[in-house]
C-alpha cells in the first residue's frame, strides 16, 4: 500500500513537472511559429502556395520517426496535425502581409 500522504505529494510533484514541461513546450511552439512567420513571408515573396502537402507529410514522418514513445505514432500524428493546422494559419497571415 502506498501511503496516502506520499501519493498526494507525488501527485503534486508530477503536476509541477508537467507545468514546467508545458512552459518549455509553449516556448518551443512559439519558436516554431516564428520560423513559420518567416516561411510565410518567403512564400508570399516567391508566390508559393501556403499549403504544401508533401512538406506536411515529411514533417509528420519525421516526427513519427523521432518519437520513441510512450505516445503512439497515431497519437503523435494527431497532435502534430493540429500544430500544422495552426502553422498553416500563421504562414497564411504572414504571407498576406507581404
Amino acid at each position: 500500500m502506498v501511503d496516502r500522504d506520499d501519493a498526494e505529494n507525488d501527485l503534486t510533484r508530477l503536476r509541477d513537472a508537467i507545468d514546467r514541461v508545458d512552459e518549455v513546450l509553449v516556448r518551443l511552439l512559439n519558436q516554431r511559429a516564428k520560423y513559420a512567420v518567416e516561411i510565410g513571408e518567403l512564400k508570399g515573396h516567391l508566390g508559393l502556395p501556403i499549403y504544401a502537402p508533401d512538406r506536411e507529410k515529411q514533417v509528420l514522418q519525421h516526427v513519427e520517426a523521432t518519437s520513441a514513445g510512450p505516445l503512439e505514432t497515431a497519437a503523435m500524428r494527431r497532435l502534430f496535425e493540429r500544430i500544422i493546422d495552426e502553422t498553416r494559419r500563421v504562414e497564411r497571415e504572414a504571407s498576406s502581409h507581404q
Partner: protein
C-alpha cells in the same frame, strides 16, 4: 463546417480538399481518424456551397455547424426578445392570450366577442379583415371597414389588435388600426411581402407554413429582420402530416425547439391546428405547459352563426373556463397570465 472524408479516401483526395479550402482562405483543422479523416473548416463558411465539396472525390458528407439564419438565432442575441404592442409585452414574463373571431363580420359580433375575451383576460384582440379563403366564392372579409371596427373594439376594451396582412398594398392602410400585423401560413414564404414588412416598424406575427420546416420558418423571419424590423413573433399553427382526423398536427415540439434556437417570442394557435372546438382547449393547455409565450385562439360570441371557421371557434364561456385553467398551469412553468 465539417467535411467528413470517406473510409477509403486516398491521401490525394484529402490533399485536394485541403488545398481547395486553403486557396479560398479558410483554415483547416485536420483530424486523421482510424477510419475517417475529418476536416474542420474555419472562417466565413456562409460563402461556401456545401454541394461543391460534397461532389469532390473521397468526400462522404459536408455538415454545416453554423445555422443559415443569423438575426433570429440565439447566437446573435442570447436574451429573449420582448415585443411590445400597445403596452402588451410578448416574450416577457407574462403569457399573452390573443383571442377573437376568425373574421370581422359586423359591429355587434366583434364588440360582443371583444367584451367577453377582455373580461376573461385576453390582452390582444384578433380579427381578420382580409381573408385568404380556399374558395374564391367564400366571404373575403370586410376590409378597411372591418379594421376600423377592430381598432374601436380594441380601444373600448383596452386590447391591442392583430390582423392578417395578405399583400404589400394592404400594409399602409392597416397601420393606423392594427398593432400587430399577422402573416398567415400560406404567405410564410411570400418573400416580397416579408421584405416589405421588414421596412415598417410594427410587430409582425409570423405563422409557420403548413409544410415549413423550423429552419425555413426562421429563414422567413430573417427576411423581415434583415430589413430592420426586429419585432417578430413566431406562431406555430400545425403542420401537414398523414393524420386526417385533425386538420393539421400541432407541432408542440416546435415550442421548445424555437426557444432553444431563437430569441424570438413563440406562441401557438390551437384553433387552426386542430380545426375542432372540442380539441382546442386541451391543446391550448399543452401549448402553455410547453413554455409558449402566448396563445392565439378563435372565439366567437355565436359560433353557429359564424361566417368562417365556426366549428373551431370557442364559445365565450369555454374561453373563460380555459383562461381559468391556464391560470393554474401558467405558474407551474414559472410564468404569469
Amino acid at each position: 463546417m465539417v467535411i467528413v472524408m470517406e473510409k477509403h479516401s486516398t491521401e490525394s483526395n484529402i490533399e485536394h480538399v485541403v488545398a481547395e479550402l486553403t486557396t479560398r482562405g479558410f483554415d483547416v483543422h485536420r483530424s486523421t481518424g482510424s477510419e475517417h479523416t475529418v476536416l474542420g473548416v474555419v472562417g466565413h463558411v456562409d460563402t461556401i456551397d456545401p454541394r461543391e465539396f460534397e461532389l469532390m472525390e473521397g468526400v462522404q458528407e459536408v455538415v454545416r455547424i453554423s445555422e443559415p439564419y443569423k438575426l433570429s438565432s440565439r447566437t446573435f442575441r442570447r436574451e429573449k426578445t420582448v415585443v411590445k404592442a400597445r403596452g402588451v409585452e410578448i416574450g416577457g414574463h407574462d403569457v399573452v392570450v390573443m383571442a377573437g373571431p376568425c373574421t370581422i363580420e359586423n359591429e355587434h359580433q366583434l364588440f360582443e366577442t371583444a367584451r367577453r375575451v377582455a373580461k376573461a383576460g385576453a390582452r390582444v384582440l384578433r380579427g381578420g379583415a382580409y381573408k385568404p379563403r380556399t374558395s374564391p366564392y367564400a366571404f373575403q372579409g370586410m376590409g378597411v371597414e372591418g379594421l376600423k371596427l377592430l381598432r374601436a373594439a380594441g380601444d373600448q376594451f383596452n386590447l391591442a389588435t392583430v390582423s392578417e396582412v395578405m399583400e404589400i398594398s394592404q400594409i399602409e392602410g392597416m397601420l393606423p388600426y392594427v398593432d400587430i400585423l399577422q402573416v398567415g401560413a400560406r404567405n410564410m414564404q411570400n418573400f416580397n411581402l416579408l421584405s416589405a414588412l421588414g421596412q415598417i416598424r410594427k410587430p409582425i406575427l409570423l405563422k409557420r407554413g403548413m409544410s415549413a420546416t423550423i429552419q425555413e420558418w426562421l429563414l422567413a423571419s430573417e427576411y423581415i429582420m434583415s430589413g430592420g424590423n426586429y419585432e417578430v413573433i413566431l406562431c406555430e399553427r400545425g403542420i401537414r402530416t398523414f393524420e386526417t382526423y385533425t386538420r393539421n398536427t400541432l407541432d408542440i415540439s416546435a415550442i421548445p425547439v424555437i426557444d432553444k434556437l431563437s430569441h424570438l417570442p413563440i406562441i401557438a394557435d390551437p384553433s387552426h391546428a386542430v380545426g375542432r372546438r372540442d380539441k382546442v382547449m386541451p391543446l391550448a393547455r399543452a401549448i402553455v405547459a410547453a413554455g409558449a409565450d402566448g396563445l392565439l385562439i378563435e372565439v366567437h360570441h355565436d359560433p353557429e352563426k359564424a361566417v368562417c371557421d365556426g366549428p373551431q371557434s370557442l364559445y365565450p364561456d369555454q374561453f373563460t373556463r380555459l383562461m381559468d385553467e391556464l391560470r393554474i398551469i401558467v405558474p407551474a412553468v414559472g410564468r404569469r397570465l
